[in-house]
């Protein structure tokens, strides 16, 4: 098996320069690539193109709030770093904190999770919910694209050959909402690929009408699902049983789960009903739990 060239840049500038010449596979944490290209015990994985290792680039490791108040996360930040950072939005921290297990969370990066474009990936749910964008950089310049457009479809992204994801920018956080909800259904608490994950957020107006409502679900189709049309059904109105059912039925048409569709649909319907029910009765606290008193050990507090 022929060995490919492997680049080990030490700065982002160097990495982008390499990218401008060579269509190298960007390897960050390696937790997708080393598995998808693995052979067997004791053998080196095989890649069909040159590889560029960016795991330790310091420029991709920053988390800060920009002058517009948006949370900016370097693409090389790991799930553990995001889960631990109070600057990061709550929904995203929850998702990061339930990816894989501890060792995985110290390797898996947010850039890799987005670029992998798996409908079961954990970070896109919150990122769609909060209108996040990715910053794409090449030696020729920078562009920003909403994550929901960047992920074109199953395993397909809008990335040019000379570009890298350098930052993820999240304009909203739990501070913009009165109630938040995040729940991942997995077969175990650790190392569970999502069976379905639902993220929601709601804000009331002073007159009790809904000012904003957002809902996204992963593992319910070929990419993460969110629909502003469905959300608009209830925005501007007071929550009622009829409107909740309208949202539930409309969202049911948005998702298209293939495996275990009835389970995934019913779980989604129940989570939406529970969330609205708790919002309507103005439950205490901002975090709506999945069912009474259910708290995942180690869940991120607000």
């Amino acid at each position: 098996m022929e060995e490919v060239k492997c680049y080990m840049p030490e700065t982002l500038e160097e990495a982008l320069e390499i990218k401008s010449r060579v269509n190298a596979i960007v390897l960050a944490g390696g937790s997708d690539l080393m598995v998808s290209n693995k052979r067997t015990i004791g053998l080196t994985p095989v890649f069909d193109r040159p590889v560029m290792i960016v795991r330790n680039l310091p420029e991709l490791k920053k988390i800060y709030i920009n002058d517009k108040g948006e949370c900016c996360i370097g693409s090389g930040c790991t799930s553990a770093e995001i889960a631990a950072s109070k600057l990061c939005p709550w929904h995203l921290r929850q998702a990061a904190n339930r990816m894989g297990a501890i060792g995985l969370r110290n390797s898996a990066t947010i850039g890799g999770n987005i670029a992998n474009a798996s409908p079961k990936g954990d970070t896109p749910g919150p990122l769609y919910l909060l209108d996040a964008r990715v910053k794409l950089q090449s030696i020729h310049g920078t562009r920003e694209v909403p994550v929901a457009d960047f992920i074109v479809k199953f395993k397909t992204i809008d990335l040019h050959e000379d570009e890298m994801i350098t930052e993820v920018i999240v304009p909203y956080s739990e501070k913009d909402f009165d109630y938040v909800f995040w729940h991942k259904v997995g077969t175990r608490k650790a190392n569970a690929i999502s069976k379905i994950t639902v993220s929601m957020a709601l804000k009331f107006n002073a007159d009790d009408t809904v000012k904003d409502f957002r809902l996204s679900a992963t593992a319910t189709g070929s990419k993460t699902n969110r629909s502003r049309d469905v959300e608009n059904i209830i925005i501007g109105k007071k929550i009622s049983t009829e409107l909740i059912e309208e949202v539930v039925q409309a969202y049911d048409k948005v998702i298209s789960p293939r495996a275990m569709p009835e389970f995934r649909r019913e779980a989604t319907r129940r989570m939406i009903r529970r969330f609205f029910g708790e919002c309507a009765r103005h439950a205490e606290g901002k975090v709506i739990e999945t069912y009474d008193g259910y708290r995942m050990p180690g869940a991120i507090e607000l």
Partner: protein, 155 residues
């Protein structure tokens, strides 16, 4: 394509010339004799190969050796020489945490990773701390008890 890779291994500077895409797991075992780094699932699920990478637990089956360049790696061979590591190893022996032993280096690393930040963990925190490490023999209870013992002895 051989490239020079240098890193700190168990406190000592080391370097080698190799294909940077070789798994760090293989480099640690084959080039540096760290055979306490066990290969289990080869895809990050079982935790048997866990090592400390810049002070944080990772699974080197998922990491190319090139990613270790200029970084700090500590395997079970180094962890057991530290005060905390030695305390965990002794508590595992005294507490009957070990049956076949294959998962144990990784379990000790997980316990070390937990106790370095949280010297007095609850049962839930211990179970979360070892949630990425699979043991096929013990049913985990004696491992959890032994980690508690290690924590108690550190007070």
């Amino acid at each position: 394509m051989e490239t020079k890779i240098s890193f700190t291994l168990n406190g000592k500077k080391v370097s080698l010339s190799t294909d940077p895409l070789r798994r760090l797991l293989d480099v640690l075992r084959e080039d540096f004799g760290c055979t306490g780094v066990k290969e289990g699932c080869s895809e990050g699920e079982c935790g048997a190969c866990s090592v400390m990478f810049n002070g944080r637990m990772v699974t080197p089956c998922l990491i190319p050796a090139g990613a270790a360049d200029k970084q700090e790696i500590m395997t079970i061979e180094g962890v057991r020489e530290t005060e905390l590591g030695a305390r965990i190893v002794q508590a595992f022996a005294d507490g009957g945490a070990v049956q076949c032993g294959y998962c144990i280096p990784g379990m000790v690393i997980a316990a070390y990773n937990l106790l370095q930040d949280n010297p007095d963990p609850t049962d839930d925190e211990i179970r979360l701390g070892i949630s990425g490490n699979i043991c096929r023999c013990t049913g985990y209870d004696l491992i959890v008890e032994s980690i508690k013992l290690a924590a108690r002895r550190g007070k």
